[in-house]
Symmetry: C2
Subunit: 342 residues, 2 copies
DNA sequence: AGAAAAAATGTGTACGTACACACTAAATAC
DNA sequence: GTATTTAGTGTGTACGTACACATTTTTTCT
């Protein structure tokens, strides 16, 4: 079991002191040509890799990471996200990392901006947040970049100005829904795309999904009527009942986690239809298991949150590299494999 | 940014030396009742967590992990598995870990046993392997346990005697296939379960999948003829062509990664049918994209391998805990979401 | 040539932990 | 009462890195 190469081994091999080796490694100058040559040769020859543990220990700083996510109490979609974050906090509690979680109201952009500004003021090594509001997020990102704070986002739209992004290809996820639905299409079928968005804050996401959905049918020359219905009222069920009664739609693609609302409305009207939607909310899962929803696409908020936090933590602790943009696989869930996701 | 608590802080709080604190922490005795009390109080009060980095640095050992997996050259299913392992090796190359990968012939149990024995002889801190052969694997596990070597397995059957297992619920994955297929069933449908297993080495896996598949239909009172066909010959295509010609089957569930063979045979006979099978081999992916396979269940060999190796590595390096048994979600793949998996 | 400045190199220390060792004080033995 | 054991405690050092500081060597200038 051979020992790993240390800076000491390099010093010995190059016949200089560890101080000189250190200066070469950190390019802090004050090294003669000959010594530089010898040390560089030795570094290459012995394939030196600095020990991240010793480096971190020596650096002896407690890194501070702030997290800004939507309040799960306002939208249950974010519950798993918070769980994922807490798991990572637990996982790294023994390390020199301090992580704080702050919640904003997903229906109030100003709540996001205000807490965001506070956090910029207070300062930190990294800030991880959910960029629900495009304008406000970009404004925040600009400030963070100016301050040189490491940035991470997840779930929503990636941006050029963020260091790390974890999320999904929403256009593709629309296509996936279309493919799933396509097996249920009959000559008489009419398809409804339902956007349920009480807070008006993820219109772009829903649009991308719709575009993907429609693109699939265009590519495959399935001609079939596809209607789009926006529901922004607070009385979702009533609006849905009206829509379903008026239009003869028997296939539904719901672009948000409120998929169960469609299943509910159908049940109330005593109608059968194919429903495909998003996310593993308890209500959705229950409908899936009852056969009222055929498929759910799982956006894995928990995994998104934990992956993005983990990347930031390990970047700070071990200087581990991460991709600027990480797109997760799109998970198709039916009444059976749901058990393996709970 | 407050510093983390160290044993020095504990020593100061308890008004003793760090040596005494250390003796308390490691329960090495030689501590007076009063000191013990004070130190324990301080430990609890300040919520002391030892710094895993410093601990590992001080321990100063290079851990050795051996890995024994089937040769990807003999069965392409294992290609991603090797890739996942190499990625983890790369990820931790700067740490005091030495990882070696050895390959056995998945058609020859004796090749597994022989290399396994060699590895036990040579010794190591942990051994990760794929327990393709039940009897031989248990024999190896017994030896490893006696030697006190940390053990990990993945992909195949979990065992009481292994420290860490990553895999799938195969019975459930059979049920998932059944649910997928159920949407294609018509009154006249006949279903074929195809076991293609040239090497006779994963009969148990295939059986579990079949059981799950049949259980779903039993639960749902779908009465529909389900035939089982075992194919162990080397000329798979011919055997399949004969089967398809003789039996009027229009829905196929293939329990192994050789799913493309069924699609191929159907194509040769110019027949259309619903095919559901396993794994993202290039041949399968191509059939999926051509519409010759409807769904694939992705067993994620790459993820399985990297997760299990990562667990062992982090257990040794940071003493991070892991679950004894980790079942992964069952991934449903169609022609669209496949893009997010490649 | 000798002093002063500049360049190059080496040494020491800290990070937090773990353990060997040295030390102190009390207890036992003769 | 002194010697020896024993329980209890404290000190020193190493792990590998990073950087401040001390020291040596070389260069420059008068």
């Amino acid at each position: 079991m051979k020992k790993k190469i240390t800076i000491k081994d390099i010093a010995r091999a190059a016949n200089v002191s560890i101080g000189t080796v250190d200066r070469v490694i950190h390019k802090r100058g004050k090294v003669s040509e000959t010594a530089l040559q010898k040390v560089n040769d030795a570094l290459k020859e012995l394939d030196y890799k600095p020990n991240p543990l010793a480096r971190t220990l020596r650096n002896n700083v407690v890194y501070k990471i702030n997290i800004l996510i939507p309040n799960p109490a306002k939208d249950p979609y974010w519950v798993p996200c918070e769980l994922g974050i807490n798991a990572i906090i637990k996982e790294y509690e023994a390390f020199d990392i301090e992580i704080s979680v702050l919640l904003f109201d997903p229906t109030k952009p100003e709540s996001f901006s205000q807490i965001g500004n506070d956090l910029v003021e207070k300062g930190s090594d990294a800030l991880l947040f959910v960029p629900l509001f495009e304008k406000e997020s970009n404004f925040l990102l600009e400030k963070l970049n100016r301050k040189g704070i490491l940035t991470g986002t997840f779930n929503s739209l990636p941006s050029k100005h963020v260091d790390h992004y974890v999320g999904h290809d929403l256009f593709l996820s629309g296509r996936v829904a279309a493919k799933l639905v396509s097996d249920f299409i009959q000559p008489s079928s009419r398809i409804g795309i339902i956007h349920i968005n009480e807070a008006f804050n993820n219109a772009i996401h829903m649009r991308q999904k719709e575009n993907g959905f429609r693109a699939y049918f265009k590519d495959h020359h399935v001609d079939c009527e596809i209607l789009t219905k926006n529901i922004n009222t607070s009385n979702v069920t009533e609006a849905l009942r009206n829509f379903i009664s008026e239009e003869k739609v028997n296939i539904f693609f719901v672009t948000t986690s409120k998929t169960y609302e469609v299943a509910l409305a159908l049940k109330q009207l005593n109608k059968k239809a194919t429903v495909v939607g998003y996310d593993l909310l308890p209500e959705n899962v229950s409908c899936l298991q009852n056969g009222e929803i055929q498929f759910l696409i799982h956006q894995a908020p928990r995994l998104q949150a934990s992956l993005s936090l983990k990347s930031l933590v390990e970047k700070l602790l071990f200087n581990k590299e991460f991709p600027k943009k990480q797109l997760l696989p799109i998970n198709i869930i039916n009444s059976e494999n749901i058990k393996s996701y709970l």
